[in-house]
Amino acid sequence: MKAFIAFTKKEFTESLRTYRLIVLAAVFLLLGLMSPLTAKLLPEIMGSIDLGDGVFITMPEASAMSSWEQFFGYIGQMGMLALIITFGGLMANELSRGTLINLLTKGMKRQTVILSKFLTASVLWAGSYALSLAVCYAYTAFFWPGGVLSNAFLAFFSLWLFGEFLIALLIFGGVLFGNFYGSLLGCFGVIIILSTLNLFPALSKFNPSSLAAQTLNLLSAQKEAADYLPAFIICAAAAALLVAAAIAVFNKRRV
């Protein structure tokens, strides 16, 4: 336990001093700000463009829902990309540089490394995401007061859960390949496969990537929580399995 606390402390210090924390928080803050602003300004910008002969594009009036639409679009794509790039080297860099050898030969258990890294990354991700969400929520309420969101907790939670899945995937890839690019490629590979599977509507109910792309439908009450329940369970189970697999592989890996 003592080693776990010490290593976790080191992880947070590292995130702070290598600017990982600041970059992640800044990116998510920006995405949170941009969502309501884009929703508000896009119809006005588009409406002001004269296509010639007095033809204008008319967009439906912006609403709170268009702000959340932007939010899910930004976080689900750019946010996840930022997450992947920030945490791609989390495990991989330690292995490729050999910085763990001094600590492991002092008797630190290998699972401590994985669990501690997963915890730190989860906290950073949750914090940045909460920041983004809070900012977007405040601005959305300011521009379009009085709106009601259905299934809000579940919709926002699902995006967070998908982020957890990616973190577990990155750590597993890092342990497996031992370098930054392997970890990154592995993660992108899985995302591409999952996105391809999403082309089949019948599968989307079970597909973790629905949690990042489609749970907006929960907010607008077009879908119900039960529609995504299998995807929730599969995503959470997959994340847990990946962490367990990362520990198992790391225990048998030469360092």
């Binding site: 003592k2 080693a3 606390i5 010490a6 290593f7 402390k9 080191k10 210090t13 590292e14 001093r17 290598t18 540089r97 050999g98 910085t99 050898i101 001094n102 600590l103 492991l104 030969t105 002092k106 008797g107 630190m108 258990k109 290998r110 225990n251 048998k252 030469r254 360092v255």
Partner: protein, 303 residues
């Protein structure tokens, strides 16, 4: 008691058999030199002792406890200095040692006390900058400090001096000399003069096997002296000597004013040399029976 015991250890990478059934013991308190060419398997052996690599066959015991790959209980007895120690560049030396102490389960106050002493010993007391800005020699010395932090019974150093300049080498060797007696040291190297400076026991690894193993004095005695070096004051003296020396010159090596004679019976040869010198009234600058050096022993077994 043996601090480290390696029994019949073997390891292959693919079809390449790197370690082929080696056995050796390291008694408590000794400084053990592990010698071999680049790629001979020194690092592989050390990593197996630390449980960082699985062995294909054989057993390793540290203070009587068996080493298992992966979760390595025996590492609590061991301090390890990798060939190129890597640190977190954003930390300062004291912070890094504090992390090491916490990981090893030491109390913070104890870690702080030991850190001050160790940093002083390795000459980094005043290096209060981030490790990222350290030179290679400084990193190596910090590596020694972190390896000694948990006061290990066994210190394993992987080529601690090979990448350092002469000053850095001397400093690291001096540190090893300082801890001699308190801690058992195993260190690998291919610099033979380092071995002669600090080791009392050696093993030479060649072709995946132990080609030579024992204390330095044992090895010297076993490969007994059979060479005599004579240095002459002038070429004329040397010429007069060679004209009269006869059978002595059978395996002689001549260089400038020196003559090295390789003989079968050193006592007889010595008598004969003195006779020739006396008879020809030659006063040599130097007459020396050559001790077998680590280099000659090494070259003999690593052929």
């Amino acid at each position: 008691m043996n601090t480290l015991s390696v029994k019949n250890l073997s390891k292959s990478f693919g079809v390449n058999k790197v370690i082929d059934g080696i056995s050796f013991d390291v008694p408590e308190g000794s400084v053990f030199g592990f010698i071999g060419a680049n790629g001979a398997g020194k690092t592989t052996t050390m990593k197996m002792i630390l449980g960082l690599l699985p062995a294909d066959g054989g057993e390793i015991f540290v203070r009587g406890e068996r080493v298992c790959f992966g979760a390595t209980e025996t590492n609590r007895h061991i301090g390890y200095l990798p060939d190129v120690p890597e640190f977190y560049g954003y930390m300062k030396p004291k912070e890094y040692l504090l992390l090491c102490g916490e990981v090893a389960g030491l109390a913070a106050s104890e870690t702080a006390r030991r850190s001050i002493r160790l940093l002083e010993m390795v000459g980094l007391s005043n290096a209060n900058k981030k490790i990222g800005a350290f030179s290679r020699g400084m990193k190596q010395r910090l590596g020694v400090a972190q390896a000694l932090l948990n006061e290990p019974k066994l210190l394993i150093c992987d080529e601690p001096t090979s990448a350092l300049d002469p000053m850095g080498r001397k400093e690291v060797l001096d540190i090893l000399k300082q801890i001699k007696g308190k801690t058992t040291v195993v260190f690998s190297t291919h610099i033979l003069s380092d071995v002669e400076r600090v080791c009392d026991r050696v093993a030479v690894l060649s072709g995946g096997r132990i080609a030579l193993c024992g204390t330095l004095s044992e090895l010297r005695a076993r490969h007994k002296a059979d060479s005599v070096l004579i240095e002459f004051a002038s070429q004329a003296n040397k010429a007069r000597f060679t004209a009269d020396a006869g059978a002595l010159l059978k395996n002689a090596v001549s260089a400038d004013l020196e003559l090295t004679l390789h003989v079968a019976d050193i006592a007889n040869a010595h008598r004969e040399i003195l006779r020739v010198l006396y008879a020809n009234e030659i006063m040599p600058l130097k007459l020396e029976i050559l001790e077998p050096t680590m280099e000659s022993l090494y070259l003999e077994v690593a052929k």
